[in-house]
């Protein structure tokens, strides 16, 4: 997604922070070399390094997960299953081209993808077929088709029933809109949306993941927006009908599910990066922060989620990162934030003036990124 690096040439020269705190790998050996160059040489070297990152970003997966939460008694409680396996039921209704058995099969593959993440402890269990409807508040987590022509641009959606007093997750349903044409063909079918891809996205929500902002769209001359690239299954806009691109979890999604339901060495093998985004000396709510890892080309993202503009990204590979801040000015803000929050999108893309070192099993220490109005 090259557009993430637009404005690159105006960024400053990266500096190494706290080099003594980390074990340098061979991947880092290029960075002291950059520091020994002249100013112009350094600019060119950094531009080349980051151009390389642009190319890598097309090839390598990225991180950018967000967890769901609900407000209970003035506190935000992470929305997650208290006990696993999370049990679900499949409706016995079919749609043209997709039988109830096909539906069960596609769901089974999608659930298996999430359950197969080695650093996550999440698990699921099929309870069987049901004639209940997804969306009914009946205590069953039900997944299936419903004909909702009124939800004219919604392929699928996940709902939750939550206990207002505790924030406990009681039930989660997923519906796929039968108003659209669906396919379970292994290579997809022209003009039909791939059920497994959409199921994979919705099961991410079912498990407690929100949307990722790492994706890029284009406006079509014949109307509408089309996804050009999305480095997360949890990007909110679907790929076009006929493609099965969305069937594979990306490291973004894997980090997210591992953060909510950690297992193995996820926490001890990674580090975090934290800091604050400010504009005119004040904290900025809603900025999207992306950390680029020059070592493997991956990206990790999160939002500044309080009035102080503070952010933190967990699950990063230890080592140096380039940090970029950008406004979510190309997206439906309600898809990411509470509508009552004042999200500031009037600022320029900004790079932190230096590389930030993420230590293994600890935090980078807070950085401040100052942005200016557009």
């Amino acid at each position: 997604m090259s557009s993430w690096f637009d404005g690159l040439t105006t960024s400053g020269i990266p500096l190494i922070r706290r080099l003594s705190e980390i074990p340098l790998t061979r991947r880092l050996s290029q960075i002291p070399l950059i520091l020994s160059l002249s100013k112009d040489e350094r600019r060119r070297a950094v531009a080349m390094l980051l151009t390389g990152l642009c190319i890598l970003s097309h090839l390598q997966p990225a991180f950018a997960y967000v967890k769901f939460g609900v407000r209970v008694g003035g506190q935000t409680v992470t929305l997650k299953w208290a006990q696993t396996p999370a049990r679900y039921f499949v409706t016995d209704a079919s749609v043209p081209g997709v039988t109830a058995t096909d539906l069960q099969g596609a769901l089974g593959r999608a659930f298996a993808s999430w359950q197969g993440v080695p650093t996550s402890a999440i698990s699921y269990q099929l309870g069987g077929f049901t004639n209940a409807r997804p969306g009914d508040e009946d205590g069953l987590s039900t997944i299936g088709f419903r004909n909702r022509p009124d939800l004219d641009r919604v392929l699928g959606s996940t709902s939750f029933l939550v206990d207002n007093t505790t924030g406990a997750l009681l039930e989660s349903d997923i519906f796929f809109n039968a108003s659209f044409a669906w396919s379970v063909a292994s290579n997809g079918e022209a003009g039909k949306f791939d059920l497994e891809s959409i199921a994979l996205h919705e099961i991410g929500h079912f498990s407690g993941l929100g949307h990722s902002a790492i994706g890029e769209t284009e406006l079509r001359p014949d109307g509408g927006r089309r996804v050009l690239a999305a480095e997360a299954v949890m990007f909110p806009i679907a790929y076009s009908a006929g493609t099965v691109t969305g069937r594979t979890l990306r490291p973004d999604d894997i980090a997210g599910i591992s953060d909510i339901y950690p297992d193995g060495g996820f926490a001890t093998a990674t580090g975090s990066l934290s800091g604050r985004v400010t504009k005119n000396g004040q904290g900025l709510f809603g900025a999207h922060i992306v950390a680029f890892d020059p070592g493997d080309g991956t990206m990790v993202g999160n939002f500044a989620l309080n009035a102080q503009g503070e952010f933190s990204m967990a699950g990063l590979r230890p080592g140096p990162h380039v940090v970029r801040v950008e406004p979510i000015d190309d997206a439906d803000l309600d898809s990411f934030f509470d509508p009552n929050r004042n999200v500031d999108i009037d600022f320029r893309v900004t790079y932190f003036d230096g590389l930030v070192i993420v230590p293994r099993g600890a935090d980078s220490g807070s950085i401040e990124i100052k942005v200016v109005q557009k």
Binding site: H211, D332, S335
Partner: protein, 182 residues
């Protein structure tokens, strides 16, 4: 080390529920699909059981300042899925949420005699807010305008030209799009 990790994961906070998977729309499509486009103030938000008492929905009452397309009266009501009733909260991820005194432009659809709904889920709601200095009303987020180019146009995040539109400009464009312009 353990304390460092504890702090790290506390900071990696959760956000309120917002999500679904959508077919992306531009403003022209939303304007075409809507039977009415209203700007106004949210006067009431009332959660209720659906008629079959199997789910929770929310009836939103909007005091309309003006219509940019169609007309459904000085006060219009529309339904959004989910809501909070007593001990239970039903959250339909991706469904737009409203609070009393919100100022919004909503793109409304209707089928038969049913209560109107929001076209495109959260894509069909635009928030009207005061500018930072309080001098004018702005519409946010910046609406994805239909492309006039004969080829696809990539939407570049952070484009300095993409800013919240002044309300008057937004309304002029919506009226033109609702009238069939591209």
């Amino acid at each position: 080390m353990r304390s460092a990790f504890a702090a790290m994961f506390v900071l990696t906070v959760a956000v309120p529920v917002r999500a679904t998977v959508l077919i992306g729309a531009d403003l022209g499509q939303l304007a075409h699909d809507a039977v009415a486009i209203a700007r106004g103030r949210v006067a009431a938000v009332d959660a209720q059981w659906t008629p079959d008492r199997r789910a929770i929905e929310t009836l939103v009452t909007l005091e309309v300042d003006t219509y940019l397309k169609g007309a459904l009266g000085g006060t219009v009501q529309f339904l959004v899925p989910g809501g909070s009733l007593g001990r239970y909260r039903s959250i339909v991820v991706g469904a737009p949420q409203f609070a009393v005194d919100d100022r919004v432009v909503v793109f409304l659809g209707a089928r038969g005699p049913s209560v109107p709904y929001v076209v495109g889920f959260s894509q069909g709601v635009f928030r009207v807010v005061r500018s930072g200095d309080g001098s004018t009303w702005l519409v946010t987020p910046p609406a994805p305008m239909p492309s006039a180019a004969p080829v696809p146009v990539t939407i570049v995040r952070g484009d300095p030209q993409r800013r919240p539109l002044p309300l008057n400009d937004f309304e002029q464009r919506v009226r033109a799009l609702a009238g069939g312009a591209r």
